[in-house]
Symmetry: C2
Subunit: 662 residues, 2 copies
């Protein structure tokens, strides 16, 4: 467009920068400062995936560098090893933060799992029993991604630096924490921080220990990990392999006569080569000290485990892998070119409490990630469950700090904070139970009965794998009843949802809203519904109208009008947003003037046909003649479901979570 005379208003930097998440409003007074004492509203110990996720979310919600401090003992993000798996639900969350592109494009998308078992043909030794999809439940991203943990950390930290000038305070760790309400009751948490040998004391309103399995925060607060260790020792190796094994780029469970190996294909690296991670069972390399390590005596267990693990060498792990892969060969592509290796012993432990209250009953110190649950790496859960701990805690903490929950005046107990333990402890328990079952089956041998141990059939193993898929994908987890999850309906109230295929998308309080594809009214854009539920800390009302939407006196019109008056117009600064879906209507073509004005007013760009692409009503289990209102929490989990006529129940639910204006 070269030939013109042009006139522009003032320079508009914000037109060219990537979008910033809109901060949450603040109803509480701004934080005080008395100059002398270093004080923050929230302190985070640790900047692994759990700590960084929390830090980033709180920064996006509007806690600035004066309000928020995150310290980490490492000098930078991780460089090799450790976690490498992202589950479908974690990918949905990263997408909701606009952070999934590099991961999806440059990570290794893992779509299939191959099972290899002993062959009856002696020459074959092992054979492929089956190939199944890696993820068997509906999800926006129906696959896992493997990618180096350090890269996830770098992606989170890079984005953090758009919102925080300081970023993570490195080479610094929390060495002790206590709650002291005597001096400065608004900032009762006292933490000792050590930076390169120098110690300082600081105070905060809240502190979160995301400082790993050896958490100083957990120890300081007297919280205990409970659980046990097993005898099985495994080695794990990251490398570029040269092999003629046909399924090296699929996730594989190999139960060979010579031992078990798990293959995890990994991302492409700078050389153009593709990494592979191998988990190799190496019990034989270490001498068992006793038949049964005593449960509960953690110190002795740890000591023994350390001795046994120290007997494991890279050469030993590799020799064992070579045996298990036979008759196929496997070797490092370049001699000695091993990225990273480790030996570990399977153990499942979980903390009895995920938070500690002050004397008034207010939760003040939290633990998240490895600090509250440890387990085997084999189900690929660690990094995911850890980040999801933070994802669960972040909005609750931000609401508490910013005075967005009802009665959240300083010092008053805040019941929404209690739901962090309720919800995440439930998931951690399920995690270690699944991991125990999965790991022990994986360490068993298929088709052989040795030492009186019952042989494991391939079908049994496959069943544990498949039924666990809802859990391991992250898509099937369900939070229990609480202030923030309204499961119980009063007696005379009919459930607006029919059907129980919750994994398939049927709506259920406590479960995440499945993404479906819908056509937008305003512009015909076929969109993923989850894109209207970004992680900006907002509650949303998802209104599935009934088919009387064109009737200005119908129940849909009444519901939209009531929600507008009782919730949306009373929520501070768009803290509650509205998304509307309509079923097939008696007249196929209609305009804004034909439907209740609240739709254009509140939801012009969040209003969809619920049937042109996916069938929203069938998927979610809602009768198009009746409709429903779904309250969705800031983390994308369904909080409450009500009939269109029952807007009062929605108002009550939102009113318990959000401080609505009078």
């Amino acid at each position: 467009m070269p030939v013109f005379t042009e006139y522009a208003s003032s320079s508009r930097e914000l037109r060219v920068l990537p979008s910033f998440a809109p901060p949450l409003p603040r109803l509480s007074p701004n934080p005080t400062s008395n100059g002398e004492q270093e004080k923050y509203e929230v302190v985070i110990a640790g900047a692994g995936p759990a700590g960084l996720m929390l830090n980033l979310l709180l920064a996006r919600y509007g806690l600035d560098d004066n309000s928020l401090l995150c310290v980490d003992s490492k000098p930078g993000t991780l460089k090799s090893g450790q976690a490498d798996g992202l589950q479908p639900r974690t990918l949905e969350v990263l997408k909701s933060l606009g952070l999934s592109d590099e991961i999806l494009c440059e990570g290794c998308q893992m779509w299939e799992v191959a099972f290899w078992n002993p062959s009856e043909d002696k020459d074959k030794v092992i054979e492929r029993t089956s190939i199944v999809p890696d993820v068997a439940v509906p999800a926006r991203f129906p696959h896992e991604v493997t990618i180096h943990q350090g890269r996830i950390e770098r992606i989170l930290e890079t984005d953090l630096l758009r919102y925080s000038k300081r970023g993570v305070q490195r080479n610094s760790k929390v060495v002790s924490v206590k709650i002291d309400e005597s001096k400065d009751p608004e900032y009762p948490v006292v933490a000792e921080i050590e930076t390169e040998g120098r110690r300082r004391t600081l105070r905060s309103k809240y502190l979160v220990g995301a400082d790993g399995a050896h958490s100083a925060v957990r120890r300081s607060m007297g919280l205990k990990l409970e659980g046990e260790s097993s005898d099985h020792i495994w080695g794990v190796v990251d490398l570029v392999v040269d092999t003629d094994f046909p399924d090296i780029r699929r996730r594989c469970a190999i139960h060979a006569p010579a031992g078990s190996v798990m293959v995890i294909p990994r991302e492409r690296i700078a050389t153009g080569d593709y990494l592979t991670r191998l988990y190799v069972q190496v019990d034989g390399l270490a001498k068992p000290d006793s038949d049964q390590t005593p449960v509960g005596d953690l110190d002795r267990q740890k000591e023994e485990a350390k001795v046994r693990r120290s007997q494991v060498t890279l050469e030993g792990i590799f020799a064992q892998a070579v045996e298990a892969f036979k008759p196929y060969y496997i070797r490092p592509k370049v001699d000695g070119a091993i990225d990273w290796w480790a030996a570990y012993q399977i153990g499942q432990r979980v903390a009895n409490q995920f938070s500690v209250k002050d004397s008034k009953g207010m939760d003040r110190v939290f633990i998240a990630g490895d600090a509250c649950h440890t387990h085997s790496p084999k189900a690929g859960q660690g990094m995911n469950v850890s980040m999801m701990d933070s994802y669960n805690l972040a909005w609750k903490l931000a609401y508490a700090v910013k005075g967005l929950t009802p009665n959240s005046t300083p010092g008053n107990p805040n019941p929404i904070l209690d739901t962090y333990h309720t919800e995440r402890h439930t998931i951690a328990q399920q995690l270690i139970e699944f991991d125990r079952a999965f790991s022990s089956m994986f360490s068993g041998k298929i088709g052989t009965a040795e030492d009186g141990v019952k042989a494991l059939s391939h079908d049994e193993f496959l069943e544990v794998f498949s039924t666990g898929n809802g859990f391991t994908s992250g898509c099937g987890i369900e939070y229990p009843d609480s202030l923030a999850v309204e499961k119980t309906l009063e007696k005379n109230i009919q459930n607006p949802v029919s059907g129980t295929d919750y994994l398939g998308g049927c709506l259920r309080p406590g479960r995440r809203l499945l993404s479906i594809k819908l056509k937008r009214h305003a512009d015909g854009y076929p969109r993923d519904l989850q894109d209207d539920f970004p992680s900006t800390g907002r509650f949303r009302l998802l209104v599935l109208t009934s088919d009387d939407l064109l009737n200005p006196h119908g129940k849909s019109a009444k519901a939209l009008s009531a929600l507008s008056a009782s919730i949306i117009s009373r929520s501070p600064s768009s803290l509650v947003e509205q998304v509307v879906i309509h079923p097939k209507l008696p007249r196929p073509v209609f305009d804004w003037k034909d439907i209740p004005s609240e739709i254009k007013l509140h939801s012009e760009m969040r209003f969809y046909s619920g049937f042109t692409i996916d069938d929203a009503y069938a998927t979610y289990g809602i009768d198009p003649q009746k409709g429903a209102i779904v309250a969705v929490r800031p983390d994308g989990y369904v909080g409450a479901i009500a009939a269109l006529e029952d807007t009062e129940r929605v108002e009550n639910y939102i009113g318990r979570c959000v401080r609505l204006l009078p």
Copy 2:
């Protein structure tokens, strides 16, 4: 994975950074430097979309800051106005550079076009005649995206800074250029650069003028824009509107009795509001000076146009829009909050030559973007065609500089560089022809015959719009026969492609390879084929094998073996990559050992089932019993197609473009 003993090899930063594009190998000597004279291999004048795209591509191909300089007169990227539309083919190219995510997620995806015309019902005034898809041809992204040009520039420049320390040299412009072979024949291009009033002279091997419609490079080199201007004057406004017009979020062509308006929905901005661009015909606001502006007398035309445009005001444009939208209201959402506005006169001009040679016949100076073609903005082509000029030139220039073309010794004419003019001048001609037809129809009135001008029917307008879609989407353009596009088959050779639905994907030299979805053999990952054709400057052989692939002596095996020996193993540093697709085979399950070893050797992660998801053979027009070999250029356009038996022809084609090792 907390309980372990770990061992990591050296720190590996490259595991955590985003991937870098692999540079092209260099067969030519490194550039000389004599210290005194500032010298570069390539100088780019201008850092708008065309200049930045070229700069980024050359930097990714491995031209470093000593080899490459880009100057721009502006202090930074654009802040408002100008171009805003990205076509499906441009989106494919941005995706091939890993730069599409922000654009797709935060731009405005434009999926539908609404046509509004005079209504027979006098009260209605105008009515919607139809809604049609905005893009009617198969494309990886079947929609356009509107987003501020400055944002595209920022995305390109941010990525550039990963490869170049200097980035764009700002506040600097090329004021004159000449070719002087007498002093330093290797660096014959002499450019005068002005930086904040200070002038300096520098030399280069090549110089590209991407310096806009008033290009100093074009003027210096004596190249002429040819074409004419029309009488019609249009106003363009970017703003957030308040309106009850039902299709404000769709692209609209409104032919109202009161005049024509085009609505372009735009991206969401930082306030949460959505921008709209309006094109408004404002002929009535300006006094026509003559019935016909004389063709060819550009200076007089320009002067007159300037006077007429200066009579146009924002208020005038808006008053005209208000009339055209009646009975609907339209106004700025906030009084006076206009982002940007301009008045322009439709004109179509194209340069007679896109490059200038030295005395030996070597192309030395090129022009790209608005410097070589100007036209109306209404078809949304400008930014796209400009970037695609650079996309076409970049690999040819990089090959010339790095000595990757045959006989490309210093000073020797390089026939591949000639194809830049041949190919892009063809497209520019088509562009201005389409634009002339589209613009004049758009400026006409529908359903009325005035002043003896024939009335335009809606169907006629719709037909121009639809048949133009192959061109405007960028997906249907076809480069003519040349060294790099082998269209002519010798007499006795049968075309391996049957069918002529080239827009539908049928293979055709000179057209881009349509992306299809295929399942990868190694890991079952359903991938977009274009993801194996990233813009890294490599040629690719796409081998569609025949169904005899399992036969070690079949024609597929022979072709793969011949290509490996004659091309792939002779191409410097993976300059030619191989992608393989197979049709349904007699045995559905097979492993690497059952197929020619060249597939795993060269294409382990680029080997697909051609039928499990999309039907590659049907889409591309290849008989599964015969197969074919397709040579694809670094810019994704098909260069040559040969039968499986005819590897010699592929070798000849590649050998003309790439300097194969002996």
